[in-house]
Amino acid sequence: MLRLLRRPVAIGPETPDEALVRRAQAGEGHAFQALFERHVTSVRRFLRDLLRDGDAADDATQESFARAHAQLERLGDHDRFKPWVLGIARNVAFEARRVRVHDVLDEEDEGVPDAVIPGPDPESLLLDAELEKHFNTALAVLSPRRRAALLMRLDHGLSYEDIAASFGWSIPTVKNEIHRARLKLRASLQPHLGGRP
């Protein structure tokens, strides 16, 4: 009875994900909406990078959060909402691309340079539209799962442990895949970072 009479605690920017997940699991719709608002930008950008199509990314974003809502009871680690929902998003994207998650790892050795790639000068980097276009193209040539792992790490800040759990890979495999993706990304970008050897 006391629980029924207790007023809900306000949700704010400082409310941790863990608390929001617990409250959403208890049926508070506003808590789930707060989780959505906090992470939708990341999820949508992640899906756009994987699917390379804005409309498809919108649909996949909605599907990802709908699945997250339906499966929220299963999330035992309440502070891991972001890696969890990104893992769901990755599955949604792979289904959309008809890529099976249990396929063997992508073999892209022929595209991975062994030599040291000349480094840029980040201080003088001009982030114009042209460079961003080349950056997006460089990301696009990576295989879907290697790209997903790289994005989870570099763009969304997930730990190697979270990525390994999401993919069902070992941590050394995750590090190796991200390293290979990085080398290929750098090789694709280097010609467009002219004047910054």
Partner: protein, 150 residues
């Protein structure tokens, strides 16, 4: 110090090191070409990714999700309500049956008796449906059981 430990350089770009360790890594990278090269790439990657962040228009996406995540009525609540309504309906029917008036139809003294016992009917409209002029005396009364239940 960081040569062979690329994780330290990455941790530096992610602001995960203490101030003291960060200063040591920075100092080393300034004198080590290999680490400086790696650090430049890590910072470039970070700058490129951060430049794209936050540009996506996402405000329209919640409507579609809200429609799919609306809380469904809890089945046990529906079941409890249905059971309570059924019980209430059964109780009402029972009360009505017990309280139904009994109609006693008897012949008047002038006519030839058909039976020594009054005719009982559970039809509350029996009196109004009897034809007039035949000498029947029709009264409505509650049975003892019905009275007791009230």
């Amino acid at each position: 110090m960081t040569c062979g430990k690329p994780g330290l350089l990455e941790a530096l770009t992610r602001s995960e090191l203490t101030a003291t360790t960060a200063a040591e890594v920075e100092a080393h990278a300034s004198t080590c070409a290999r680490c400086r090269h790696e650090l430049n790439w890590l910072r470039t990657e970070r700058a490129l990714f951060r430049a794209r962040a936050g540009r996506d228009e996402v405000s329209h996406l919640w409507q579609g999700i809200a429609a799919r995540t609306a809380p469904a009525p809890r089945p046990w609540k529906q079941l409890a309500f249905a059971l309570a309504a059924s019980a209430l309906a059964l109780l009402s029917v029972q009360q009505l049956l017990q309280a139904r008036p009994t109609v006693n139809v008897a012949q008047t003294a002038e006519s030839e008796p058909l039976s020594s016992e009054p005719i009982e009917s559970t039809d509350p409209t029996a009196c109004s449906r009897l034809p007039e002029g035949l000498g029947f005396r029709c009264t409505m009364s509650l049975s003892d059981d019905a009275l007791a239940s009230r």
